[in-house]
Point group: C3
Chain length 157, copies 3
């Protein structure tokens, strides 16, 4: 099995869930619970707007090569709160154990008008998050650790 | 009736509207007109790309607690023009009078490569905005002023 | 025929394609190939997450008027790599020759936590791009050079 290759598949957007998350909710835990309760094995963030606090995100250092090493990834922790300006990403099952792997990139607004963000590791809802999660039907894609990038990547057998 | 609680509901994405907005158009007025003309009571921004000018947005100050006070929200006014890099958000009817409440977060690009943005209060189309608005079917969610955050939040009775 | 006017049309989101792009892939070439292979004449980016390198983007200079002149557009070239935090945009056929015109705005995260981005001219996949392209059905919109903005704009005859 090659763990690192391109693929293209035709999918369908199935059931769509609208949820309001509450102050203090953990974003990742909340998304996993929604997915489990509504039997969404594979899904994408269709829309998200609100505010976050206690955010941890990571970005890749300039001039990093492949495979990406741990020291090339810079982790940033910020108390916020921030406006959640954009949330992109998806949820696919781990190839190893079927557990959901959530991949999220967030963009955050600050009171100076400056914007920050990155690959999200942790976030707590501040005032609200209005989120729409769309289920992906007709897909057989998993997440597995790539031999090349050494990170969890989408895999179609 | 509790004005502040979490909810999850299964919705459907219904009719989808593609529109091109023109130079000088007010973004909020244009969205309200599209929604009214096409009888979209509840909707989400599916995609938006273009450029904006005369933008007013607001962001929350660091270390703000709950409820959010007016002085915790910093308003920024910028002439631009800016590339409209991302527009997230939705439209739900006010619980009070049924009028559409539009909640938008914008991310804006500047000629230095810096990016700014926040919770949008006002914006005018510069060259174009290519916008796709998706109607939300099967939802009974309203916008109402939360007792806790003191802002307009999504409410499901 | 007026090349510069507003329009509103009801469309449908048709077939949806999920693809993983690979390190070194050209983003624009990859999108064109996906669209051609799956006969997507008109489409939108539904979701995209990953990382990019060797990026060229352009933003409009402050206080620019209409029509936008070449010297009002500032081109920025960056080696990266960057986290791809947001990718908005669409693909419509050229009115002149039917060839796909891709309009993309990207937002990129850097290791300092700063965010950059703009109207994308060129980008190469760094580690991965997980992209979902939705086809737009029921549309008769083209891209044509506007007499007013002097840029390629959406046109409905």
């Amino acid at each position: 099995m090659t763990l690192h290759k391109a693929f293209i598949e035709e999918i369908k957007l199935g059931g769509v869930i609208l949820s309001r998350l509450m102050p203090g909710d953990d974003l990742f835990t909340s998304l996993k619970k929604i997915a489990k309760d509504h039997r969404i094995e594979r899904g994408i963030i269709v829309s998200a707007i609100g505010s976050l606090k206690d955010v941890v995100f990571v970005n890749v250092r300039p001039h990093t090569g492949m495979p990406v090493k741990t020291e090339d990834m810079i982790e940033i922790e910020e108390a916020g709160p921030f406006e959640l300006l954009s949330l992109e990403g998806n949820l696919f099952p781990s190839h190893e154990d079927g557990e959901p792997v959530i991949h999220l990139h967030a963009i955050l607004g600050t009171s100076s008008g400056a914007v920050t963000g990155g690959h999200l590791l942790k976030a707590t809802v501040f005032a609200t998050v209005e989120i729409i999660l769309g289920s992906v039907a007709g897909s057989s894609v998993y997440k597995a650790k790539s031999d090349v990038t050494k990170r969890m990547e989408l895999l179609k057998e």
